[in-house]
């Protein structure tokens, strides 16, 4: 079984280059899927949105995956570090205790914000040279509360 990906028909095997391109909001993987958790974790580390972790025991955890350590041939324990979206200190979770992981939150680094703004900027400049009234296109950060 493949990892679910609502926006793509065939995301490919997790961990392959093809699959890596498809990691995005909505992607989910569980241990019966193709690919390895290590590869999914690597993609999640690069993902700028929250993820949902399904542990073998206990409740799922939603948060930002900020760090990871994948043990090499020399051994050691592989883990991820997650900042829970509900608040509280970061939690270190061993990979062996995880049965699934999904990219559940919005990827705040994706989208066409730059291109859109650039178009508006160019339009505004042209309108100004024609002496027309122009709308304000200032960008502000999203409200956090």
């Amino acid at each position: 079984m493949q990892g679910d990906h609502p926006e793509s028909e065939a995301p490919g095997e997790a961990g392959s280059d093809d699959a890596r391109k498809d990691y995005g909001q909505g992607f989910s993987w569980n241990e019966d899927d193709a690919g390895s958790l290590e590869d999914v974790v690597e993609a999640a580390f690069d993902y700028r949105g929250d993820v949902t972790i399904l542990p073998r025991d206990g409740e799922s955890l939603v948060g930002y995956l900020a760090n990871r350590s994948i043990a090499g041939a020399a051994g050691g324990e592989s883990w991820i570090e997650v900042f829970p979206s509900a608040g509280g200190p970061s939690r270190r979770i061993p990979l062996k205790s995880i049965r699934g992981l999904s990219f559940s939150g919005k990827d705040v680094a994706s989208g066409k914000s730059w291109e859109t703004w650039l178009e508006k900027y160019a339009e505004r400049k042209e309108a100004l040279t024609r002496g027309e009234e122009v709308e304000n296109i200032d960008l502000f950060p999203e409200e956090l509360d």
Binding site: V108, W114, L118, L139, P141, L144
Partner: protein, 374 residues
């Protein structure tokens, strides 16, 4: 200067191979600007709301031991305890560069007291049009200008911090340096930008040869009065001086933030170490640098290379004399095909005109990215 020199010499005498010069302390990622091309602040809301506590900042500073602490962000003036952090660092006799877009500096200036240890390093990415474009908001340049004047009037040390990308117009940058000099800032910092992988625009990057061309055109005939708050050898490196084909020193500017000690540098995020010692010991430094790593290929950023220049200055008599020469007699660079006919020495025939380029602009948080398609 003395603090840096003695720190370098002490480390040289103890034969320490890797040591930090400037701690990049990011106490929060939140910002009051939303520059469309910025790659530093793309995190979910609950991460943007978090801050390092003053105690976390102090223990990072103590652990690291660098004589200079640069506080970028996010916007550090939005930190709820920034004055406590600055006070604690000043008490430790650290030279603090508080990097700010200055939007709220007027409002917050009473939180701080002037001291030789504190400098406001104001992001100014060019003249009004370029700066407001870079930060995607009108009026920010004027606000920053007023804040700089106020801070200078109050007796604070103020420098500016400018990042340039390919295609920036050398003449406009020179005009900007004139304006900042006239304003009375203590020094200016300038660096080529690094295109963060998380910045929305990933279209085109500043390549090393173009960086050299741009900086030669800007700095080859520096005006009297321009003062740069950075190593003259680093500026010669940017201009393409053959003798300054530096390797990166990522451990020179280690970065600490909410996630820990960032590996390997301020620009790349390959993971985090829990302690400074772990960062220094467990990072595979050999993997990084423009000759070895694709992500580093075009990087000539000060957080990677200025420490190399400083190490050269204080690491050998030759380096020291070269710094004295560059400071008093001007910069030297090596000509290449692109600027045949240039003097090769500052104070020569003026700025060399290079081929015209098609200009598209990109903004990053705190940097002008005017990108070029040849």
């Amino acid at each position: 200067m003395w603090a840096v020199a003695s720190h370098v010499l002490k480390n040289k005498l103890t034969r320490k191979k890797r040591y930090p010069l400037v701690l990049m302390l990011e106490p929060l990622f939140r910002c009051n600007l939303a520059c469309a091309g910025c790659g530093k602040i793309q995190y979910p809301g609950h991460i943007l709301k978090q801050e390092l506590t003053p105690e976390q900042c102090f223990s990072a500073v103590d652990e690291c031991g660098a004589p200079i602490v640069s506080i970028p962000g996010g916007e550090p003036l939005m930190h709820s305890n920034i004055e406590t952090i600055v006070e604690g660092l000043v008490a430790r006799k650290k030279y603090v560069y508080l990097c700010t877009n200055a939007i709220v500096l007027k409002e917050k200036i009473d939180l701080f007291r002037p001291t030789k240890y504190l400098t406001f390093s104001v992001h100014m990415d060019g003249l009004e049009e370029e700066h407001d474009f870079a930060v995607c908001r009108e009026g920010v340049y004027e606000d920053a200008l007023e804040a700089i004047k106020l801070a200078l009037d109050r007796g604070f040390r103020v420098t500016t911090n400018t990042t340039l990308f390919e295609g920036a117009e050398p003449g406009r940058v020179r005009e900007f340096f004139d304006e900042m000099t006239e304003l009375g800032v203590e020094g200016m910092m300038v660096s080529p930008g690094y295109s963060y992988s998380k910045a929305p625009d990933q279209g085109s990057f500043l390549h090393r040869d173009r960086t050299r061309g741009l900086f030669r055109r800007i700095l080859s005939a520096p005006r009297k009065g321009w003062r740069f708050n950075q190593s003259p050898l680093f500026l010669e490196f940017l201009m393409g001086n053959e003798g300054r084909d530096y390797h990166c020193t990522p451990w020179g500017n280690p970065t600490y933030n909410l996630f820990g000690w960032q590996k390997p540098c301020y620009l790349l995020q390959e993971g985090y170490a829990e302690t400074f010692d772990e960062l220094m010991e467990a990072t595979d430094w050999e993997q990084y640098g423009h000759e070895r790593n694709d992500k580093c290929r075009d990087c000539m950023v000060h957080s990677g290379y200025e420490a190399t220049a400083v190490d050269q200055t204080f690491g050998s008599l030759r380096g020291f004399l070269a710094t004295v020469r560059a400071t008093f007699l001007g910069y030297r660079w090596t000509e290449d095909r692109e600027d045949e006919g240039s003097s090769g020495e500052a104070g020569g025939a003026g700025i060399v005109e290079l081929p015209a380029v098609e200009r598209t602009q990109v903004a990053t948080c705190g940097s002008v990215r005017t990108e070029t398609k040849a």
